[in-house]
C-alpha cells in the first residue's frame, strides 16, 4: 500500500427510486484496497454489499443515483462514460457472480465464452484465444481442459461452472476481481475448492480480490482484511484476525455469535440477531443498528456515530464499542 491504494472508495452513496419511494442502499461507504489484497465485504442480506460491488464499475440500473468517489488505479470511475467503463470491465476489474448455474450462456460452448473475453479485450484471434482458454481452464483446476472447451454449460457441474466463471474473470489478468458470493450456491466441499482456486490465482497473478459474502467461514479462510456493512453503512473495518478475536461493533459480534458452533451452543440452540435490516429512505441521524442493539441508548438514537480509528487500522462506527479501538470508551 506504499504507492497509494488500488481501489479507494470514498463516501459512496447509492439511492434507488422505486415505486414505494426512495431507498438508500449505500450510505457514504468508504474503504480502500491495496494491490493484491484480499478484502472481504460482509454483512447480512440487504445491507448494500452487492450494490456497492456493482456500483464500482457502473453496473447498477439506470434508476440508481450514485455519488461519492470511486478511485481505481488513480482515476475516478464514477462519472466515466459507459464506453470507458466497458473497457475496464472484464479487463481491469472482473466479476464472479453468485449463480454459476445461470451465469453461463447455455447455447455457447465453454471455449467460446472464455474466448469471447480474450478476443474483446486483448484483440486475440480465434485460435490464439482458444489456446489461451485451455491454459486458463487448466489454471482454475479443470481437468481435461481441451475437451471442456467444446462442451456446453449444462454438461458441467456447479463447481466446474464456477471455475469457468473464474477463468473468464482472470482471462485478462485483471488487477481486481470482485467475487460476489462466489461460493454461496455451492456444496461446502466444492466451496473449499473454489476458495483454493482464488488463493492460487492471487499468488500467481497478484490480483486483488474483493470478496463479498455473508459467510464468515469463507472470510476466515481467505480474507486479509474485513469491512463489515450494515444498512448501507460501513460499520467496522479490521484485519481478519483482529476482527475475529476482538469484534468491536455489537453487530459484528452478533454476526460472529450467529455462526453455528457446536462447542459453544451445547444447548443446541442457534443465536441470532433479533429483527431485520431496516430499509431506509434517507440517512438517519442515529446509529442504524440501534433498534436491534442490546447496548443502544439515547445517544445511539439521536446522533450518527462517526468512524473511530483505533490501532492497526481497526475502525468502528459505534458509540459504545465492545473493545479497544475506540478513543471513547463506553
Amino acid at each position: 500500500m506504499s504507492v497509494g491504494p488500488l481501489l479507494d472508495v470514498e463516501e459512496l452513496t447509492v439511492r434507488f427510486r422505486t415505486e414505494d419511494g426512495a431507498v438508500l442502499a449505500v450510505d457514504a461507504a468508504s474503504f480502500a484496497m491495496g494491490e493484491g489484497e484480499v478484502l472481504a465485504l460482509v454483512g447480512e442480506s440487504g445491507c448494500g454489499k452487492s450494490v456497492t460491488a456493482l456500483a464500482l464499475t457502473g453496473l447498477l440500473p439506470r434508476g440508481a443515483a450514485v455519488s461519492g468517489r470511486i478511485g481505481f488505479a488513480g482515476r475516478d470511475l464514477r462519472g466515466l462514460p459507459e464506453r470507458d467503463l466497458r473497457r475496464i470491465r472484464g479487463r481491469d476489474i472482473a466479476y464472479v457472480f453468485q449463480e454459476p448455474m445461470t451465469s453461463l450462456n447455455p447455447v455457447l460452448t465453454v471455449g467460446r465464452q472464455v474466448g469471447e473475453v480474450l478476443r474483446r479485450h486483448q484483440g486475440m484471434g480465434t485460435a490464439a484465444a482458444r489456446e489461451r482458454a485451455v491454459e486458463l481452464l487448466e489454471l482454475v483446476g479443470i481437468p481435461l481442459p481441451r475437451r471442456r472447451l467444446g462442451e456446453y454449460p449444462h454438461q458441467l457441474s456447479g463447481g466446474m461452472r464456477q471455475r469457468v466463471m473464474i477463468a473468464m474473470a482472470v482471462a485478462c489478468r485483471p488487477r481486481l476481481i470482485i467475487a460476489d458470493e462466489p461460493t454461496t450456491a455451492l456444496d461446502v466441499t466444492v466451496q473449499a475448492g473454489i476458495l483454493d482456486v482464488l488463493r492460487t490465482l492471487r499468488a500467481e497473478i497478484g490480483t486483488a480480490v474483493l470478496l463479498i459474502t455473508h459467510d464468515l467461514g469463507v472470510v476466515a479462510d481467505i480474507a486479509e482484511r474485513v469491512v463489515v456493512m450494515y444498512a448501507g453503512r460501513t460499520i467496522e473495518e479490521a484485519h481478519a484476525e483482529a476482527l475475529f478475536a476482538r469484534p468491536s461493533h455489537p453487530y459484528t459480534r452478533g454476526l460472529l455469535d450467529a455462526v453455528p458452533n457446536p462447542a459453544r451452543h451445547s444447548d443446541g440452540g442457534l443465536r441470532e440477531i433479533p429483527g431485520r435490516v431496516p430499509v431506509l429512505a434517507s440517512s438517519p441521524d442515529a446509529c442504524t443498528f440501534a433498534d436491534r442493539c442490546g447496548y443502544a441508548d439515547g445517544l445511539c438514537r439521536t446522533r450518527r456515530p462517526a468512524m473511530n480509528r483505533g490501532p492497526a487500522g481497526h475502525q468502528v462506527r459505534c458509540w459504545h464499542p465492545l473493545s479497544v479501538p475506540s478513543t471513547v470508551e463506553a
Binding site: T57, L59, R86, R87, I88, R89, G90, R91, A94, Y95, F97, E99, T102, S103, L104, N105, P106, V107, L108, T109, E116, V117, R120, H121, P143, L144, R147, G150, E151, Y152, H154, Q155, L156, S157, G159, M160, M165, M168, A169, D187, T189, V190, A192, G193
Partner: protein, 296 residues
C-alpha cells in the same frame, strides 16, 4: 479430501458433444405424432423440390381426350376439365405452396426479429415499435392482401409479401418478449460485467437463446402461410393460371365439384395433411424445447 473428490466427480466425457438442439430433435422423434409430422413434411418438401422429376406429366399439358377422368393407374389423382394430370399439378402446386410458406416466413423473420430485439432491448423504442405492430395487426389479413394485390398485381410474389407482412407483428412480439425475458438473465448480466457492448449482447447472448421460441413460431407460421396462399389463390390474388398452386386448384375446381369431386379432394387433402403435419411437428418441437422440461 475423499469427500471433495466424490463431489467433483465429472460427468463422463462424451465423444461428440450433443448440442442442446440435437438432443431436442431426438426428443421430438420420441413423440410419435411429431415424428409422423416430420416425415410428412420431409416427403412434401422433397416432392415439391423434385416436382419436375417426379411428376409423370408437365403441369400444363392438356389432353382433351382424357378430360375429367376419375383417379386411375394412368392418372393417380384423375384429370381436370382440360385433361391435365392432377397428380402432377398437385406436386407443382405443392412447390408453390411450400415456396410461399417458406419465403413469407423468411420475410417476416427478417423484419420482425431485428425490430423485436431492438424494442425489447431499448425500452425507449418499445412504445413506438409496439404501436406500429398493433396497427399492422389491426388490419384484417385479406384487406391487406387485396390492397397489395391491387397495387402490385396478383402474383406469387404479391401473395408472399402480403402473407409475410401480415405475420411480422407475431414475429415481432415473440422476439420482443424473449428479449425482455433474456435481458434479465444472469449470463447477460455477467456478459455486461465482462465488458460486452450492446451489439455483442444482442448477437451472441440474446438472439441465440431466442432461437428456440422463433423456431416454434416458424412452425406455426409456415402452415398459416400455406393456408393464406390457398385463400389468396382461391380469391384469384395469388398465382396466375396455368401455374398451379394448391389453393388455386381448389378455386378452379369449385365449379366442377359435382362432376369431378377428386378435383377438390386431392389438393384439399394435401393442404390439410401438410399443415397438420407442420403443426404436429411444431407442437412436438415446442414440447421438446420447453425450458421447463429437464435440461439434463
Amino acid at each position: 479430501m475423499s469427500l471433495l473428490e466424490l463431489n467433483t466427480v465429472e460427468p463422463p466425457v462424451r465423444e461428440t458433444p450433443p448440442g442442446g438442439r440435437r438432443r431436442a430433435l431426438r426428443r421430438v422423434l420420441r413423440n410419435p405424432l411429431a415424428a409422423i409430422g416430420l416425415v410428412v413434411v420431409v416427403v412434401a418438401v422433397l416432392a415439391a423440390l423434385l416436382a419436375n422429376v417426379v411428376a409423370p406429366f408437365p403441369f400444363d399439358r392438356t389432353d382433351f381426350g382424357a378430360s375429367l377422368q376419375p383417379p386411375s393407374p394412368a392418372h393417380w389423382f384423375g384429370t381436370d376439365e382440360l385433361g391435365r394430370d392432377q397428380f402432377s399439378r398437385v406436386l407443382f402446386g405443392l412447390r408453390a405452396s411450400v415456396g410461399v410458406g417458406v419465403m413469407s416466413v423468411a420475410l417476416s423473420l427478417t423484419v420482425g426479429v431485428p425490430l423485436g430485439l431492438l424494442a425489447g432491448f431499448y425500452g425507449w423504442l418499445d412504445p413506438l415499435f409496439s404501436r406500429l405492430a398493433d396497427t399492422l395487426l389491426a388490419f384484417p389479413f385479406l384487406v391487406l392482401a387485396v390492397g397489395l394485390a391491387a397495387i402490385l398485381g396478383p402474383s406469387l410474389a404479391t401473395a408472399t409479401i402480403a402473407i409475410g407482412v401480415g405475420q411480422i407483428p407475431q414475429v415481432f412480439r415473440v422476439t420482443r418478449g424473449e428479449t425482455l425475458r433474456l435481458r434479465g438473465m444472469d449470463y447477460v448480466a455477467a456478459a455486461v460485467a465482462g465488458g460486452a457492448g450492446d451489439g455483442v449482447l444482442l448477437r451472441r447472448h440474446i438472439l441465440p437463446n431466442a432461437v428456440n421460441a422463433l423456431i416454434v413460431q416458424a412452425t406455426v407460421a409456415v402452415p398459416a402461410a400455406i393456408l393464406g396462399e390457398a385463400v389468396l389463390s382461391f380469391l384469384g390474388l395469388g398465382l396466375r393460371p396455368p401455374t398451379p398452386s394448391l389453393g388455386g386448384m381448389l378455386s378452379s375446381a369449385e365449379s366442377l365439384f359435382r362432376d369431378g369431386p377428386w378435383l377438390v379432394v386431392f389438393p384439399g387433402v394435401s393442404i390439410v395433411l401438410l399443415t397438420l403435419a407442420l403443426n404436429l411437428f411444431g407442437d412436438g418441437l415446442r414440447d421438446a424445447l420447453d425450458p421447463r422440461e429437464a435440461r439434463r
